[in-house]
């Protein structure tokens, strides 16, 4: 009987699946557009040829990239940038539009970031696009960063619905920075058309504030990305490492999404002439490290023992996690680790540090796909390779960095652990704008050390690679989503408020189509959550050195292991006193300074040592 039912089901599957897919493909009208139609490049009038513009200002350099529709043959390729001074428009730069992708990148040095300035981008006689370059908000106590990921436009799960709620909410909270963590574009062949649509959808908020876009796998035209320094990938699924699309395609993607970001700190190109964009942005006294967690990463296919039906998936819960942590497997790579090490020590004009990357440094989901597809571990996550993951976290915690990311289609808050639970940074993974692919954080066993009353999935866990993680929240979608669009699929966005005075970090996780200023509006369960900047490196096993009292506000303090000379951390203290945390039973050199740790305060500090008054003036 069971067999008959099964056979009936299988036969029906063929018909229904075909019908369902065909129905999706044919869905048109009634306000819904299927993806391909939405990606048609409109024929615009000459006055509308500039679609949108993105910018950042860092270290007195303005970088702005105007995105144009195709410029007709015979029309000028010159694009001008003007700013308004004393009621008059003054040209500050001009550039030639790059035909592959129709981008016009501007770079203006000696930019006065103490003033808000209106700008306009001009093309020919008719086209003009206006926006505002904000002043650097160094006097603001709270810097608001709105975070987004996964901009699917597929109608099947609500990707075709208006983004107006996101636009309205960004304007209501007056976000200082926009962070798009990846998958701004899902079309694997037509990045340009999809990027124009992204600009039409978000240009209204992007044009007036610094915006950071991190191109991820789908942006680069493939389902997953292990970049392997620019290798060519030929395996379906790309787990062999490298880029599926030709280098010129990837270069065009990166030019569109990242050419407005601060100059890369180490600009050497990788394979196929693909550039790099890892760098930092200092805005409002927040120092953002912009990381490329895909570009150098090793592909797992053929390098790790097979553990599941795909080279990057591990299904066997009894496998030996150490067996996949193979020698030579790279996550961020030496160039980025060096950058992180230097960035974590440099507190010039910085009160807090934030790391931005595509995804989080752990396996942050158990169930993948449309139903109960339990996956023990996913090598697309930054939980693998474990050594690379630990190296990245060791670097980031030295600067008490908070980690802001996306990609997972599942909003979570984790505190990462390396040697013990909770000995590294916090991460907030934001939900997708529209959720293409469902995931759930659903450990089989309840986590120890949970907050009182917290769900069983929170607390201390080992992820699928035996990485130590402590979960605080997960916006799991419904198991069988009712309506199957947006919020039942746990779509939404994140807001993080960085208070540079109190050093608090407040994480908010909002569903779609709510008014975040409405007191009745509810966030996903587990949010909001507030941590201190100093929680990002505060292992449970540590004790405290004696309190340091300074004669200057907010000095920079550095701890060095007296035996190994290894820098344990560098951080800007809050106020005139600071009590450094440190491992028990070890001796430390403590250095401090107004903006850099130039003065040795103690050469033999230990947990429990006496308070000390320090003169730095």
């Amino acid at each position: 009987m069971k067999l008959i039912r099964l056979v009936t089901l299988c036969c029906s599957a063929l018909l229904i699946a075909g019908g369902a897919v065909a129905q999706e493909k044919g869905k048109k009208g009634k306000g819904q557009k299927k993806g391909p139609a939405a990606l048609a490049i409109p024929n615009v009038e000459k006055k509308d040829i500039i679609c949108f513009a993105l910018y950042t200002v860092n270290d007195e350099v303005l970088k702005l990239t105007a995105q144009l529709y195709p410029v007709p043959e015979g029309d000028t390729k010159t694009v001008r940038l003007e700013i308004e001074k004393d009621g008059k428009w003054v040209e500050v730069a001009k550039t030639e539009v790059i035909e592959k992708g129709w981008t016009a990148p501007f770079r203006v040095e000696n930019w006065d970031d103490t003033q808000t300035q209106k700008y306009r981008v001009l093309h020919g006689e008719e086209a003009s696009y206006e926006g505002t370059i904000r002043r650097n908000p160094i006097d603001k106590d709270e810097i608001v960063v709105a975070g987004f990921t996964g901009n699917s436009i597929n109608a099947k799960h609500g990707g075709d619905l208006s983004r107006q709620d996101l636009i309205d909410n960004v304007n209501k909270v007056d976000a200082d920075v926009l962070f798009f963590s990846g998958d701004q574009v899902y079309d694997h062949h037509r990045h340009y058309a999809a990027w124009l649509k992204f600009g039409r959808d978000f240009g209204e908020i992007i044009k007036d504030r610094p915006t950071l876009c991190l191109p991820d796998d789908h942006d680069a035209g493939q389902p997953n990305l292990w970049g392997e320094s620019g290798k060519i990938s030929t395996l379906s699924g790309a787990a062999d490492g490298g880029y599926s699309q030709p280098g010129e395609y990837v270069q065009e993607v990166e030019r569109a999404q990242t050419s407005h970001m601060p100059d890369p700190v180490d600009p050497h190109t990788i394979g196929q002439g693909i550039g790099v964009w890892f760098t930092n942005l200092n805005w409002g006294n927040i120092d953002f490290a912009i990381l490329e967690d895909r570009k150098f990463k090793t592909g797992p296919a053929g390098r790790v023992p097979k553990q599941g039906p795909r080279p990057d998936h591990i299904l066997n819960p009894d496998y030996d996690p150490a067996s996949v942590d193979v020698e030579g497997a790279i996550l961020l790579g030496d160039r980025q680790l060096k950058f992180i090490d230097e960035w974590a020590q440099d507190w010039t004009d910085a009160d807090m540090k934030v790391a931005l990357s595509a995804t989080i440094f752990c396996g942050g989901a158990h169930i993948h796909g449309a139903a109960n597809g339990r996956l023990h571990a996913d090598m697309d996550s930054n939980g693998w390779p474990q050594t690379g993951r630990n190296n990245a976290l060791r670097g980031l915690r030295k600067g008490f960095a908070f980690h802001y990311a996306g990609d997972q289609h599942l909003a979570t808050i984790f505190q990462q652990g390396i040697d013990e639970y909770g000995d590294a940074i916090y991460s907030f993974c934001v939900p997708s704008i529209a959720n293409l692919y469902l995931r759930w954080w659903e450990p089989l066993e309840a986590g120890p050390n949970r907050e009182p009353g917290a769900p069983e999935y929170t607390g201390d866990h080992l992820d699928g690679f035996a990485n130590k993680v402590t979960n605080f929240a997960a916006a799991n979608p419904e198991k069988n989503p009712a309506g199957n669009i947006l919020n039942t699929r746990a779509a939404g966005f994140g807001i993080v408020r960085f208070n540079t005075k109190t050093r608090d970090i407040e994480m908010e996780c909002w569903p779609r189509n709510v008014d975040v200023t409405d007191p009745e509006a509810k966030q996903y369960p587990g949010w909001p959550m507030t941590i201190s900047q100093f929680d990002n490196y505060n292992p449970r096993s540590w004790g405290k050195l004696g309190e340091l009292t300074f004669d200057v506000e907010d000095p920079v303090v550095q701890l060095i292991d007296a035996d190994t000379d290894e820098i344990l951390y560098t951080v800007r203290a809050s106020g005139k006193s600071f009590t450094p945390g440190a491992p028990k039973g070890k001796t430390f050199i403590v250095k401090a300074g107004k903006d850099a740790p130039e003065t040795t305060v103690s050469e033999a500090a230990k947990v429990g040592s006496e308070p000390q008054t320090v003169t730095l003036k």
């Binding site: 699946a17 897919v21 395996l235 062999d240 796909g369």
Partner: protein
């Protein structure tokens, strides 16, 4: 009755083509993952499962344990393995085995349909699997009616056209741009940049279309079949050639070799036609009725 040697060779080619196809897919289903997911992971399928009394947990698993979907996904591999064996054991009087192979063809149609759906309903994806879908049918026809029977040859020609029209369409960038992995493989193997790889693939796409046409012109058909056999083999081996490396576990063989094996019909069907037409100008081998088996009651032979 014993077949003439040339006909034994033709039958062997068809057997090997079928065996490779089924064995390759069995390999995929046992070792990796079949493409059937797109048919099963649908809300409407869950609803149907519940309607006929299969619970949610039974169907998709509890999370900790596999459900019917996961279990049957790998069990289907056994059916392919059985079909692979049948391609070697089937004889002209074993109707059950022939029926099994026709069933296997049905499985391959289902599989190709699943790939077509997951490829966003791109027609060339389904069409290019024509050789794989039809190889068991061609083998059965060859056994039942003869390797030179019109039905066998026509079906082989249809399969040939499907393979190379599908390939050619993709290489020419229809309906979407040329698949990136085609460009990647070309760039790696021939050490050319993407622009040159695109040009080479366009030429190859045009050639694919031309051999489909050439198949129907008597003076051209042997050349077309020869080109297709070589090109079909080269495109199949391109995957391991581009992807395998000494630095990988098993040199990456487990990642790529099955891609060659399951594409056996892509070069075996043209090879069959090439050998069939090898002595096309010798009247006694082509035009004379050759009863090849006890099952061959139809005296009609191929005059195509």
């Amino acid at each position: 009755m014993t077949l003439p040697k040339p006909d034994q060779l033709l039958l062997l080619i068809l057997r090997l083509g079928g065996f490779g196809c089924f064995a390759g897919w069995a390999w995929v289903l046992f070792y990796w993952e079949g493409p059937y997911g797109v048919l099963l992971w649908q809300d409407s399928i869950y609803a149907l499962a519940e309607k006929i009394g299969i619970s949610w947990d039974e169907f998709v698993g509890s999370g900790a344990q596999d459900g019917l979907v996961q279990k049957w996904h790998s069990r289907i591999g056994w059916l392919y393995l059985i079909c692979a064996i049948l391609t070697l054991t089937v004889r002209n009087n074993s109707r059950i085995q022939m029926a099994g192979l026709i069933g296997g063809s049905g499985l391959l149609v289902l599989l190709s349909y699943a790939k077509y759906l997951s490829a966003n309903q791109q027609l060339p994806m389904f069409v290019e699997h024509g050789g794989q879908m039809l190889i068991p049918v061609i083998l059965v026809l060859a056994l039942r009616f003869g390797v030179r029977h019109r039905a066998t040859v026509v079906t082989a020609m249809v399969a040939f056209v499907m393979i190379f029209a599908g390939h050619g369409a993709y290489a020419l960038g229809y309906p979407s741009p040329t698949p990136a992995n085609f460009l990647g493989m070309t760039s790696i193997i021939l050490r050319v940049d993407a622009e040159m790889a695109r040009f080479i693939l366009r030429v190859a796409g045009i050639m694919d279309m031309l051999v489909c046409v050439g198949l129907f012109f008597r003076p051209l058909r042997r050349g077309a079949a020869l080109y297709a056999a070589v090109w079909g083999f080269l495109t199949a081996v391109a995957r391991p050639v581009a992807g395998m490396s000494l630095g990988l576990n098993y040199w990456g063989a487990d990642q790529y070799l099955h891609e060659v094996v399951l594409r056996a019909p892509h070069f075996m069907i043209p090879l069959y036609l090439l050998f069939l037409w090898r002595k096309a100008d010798e009247p006694d081998s082509l035009t004379a009725p050759v009863p090849i088996s006890s099952g061959n009651t139809d005296p009609q032979t191929c005059r195509l």
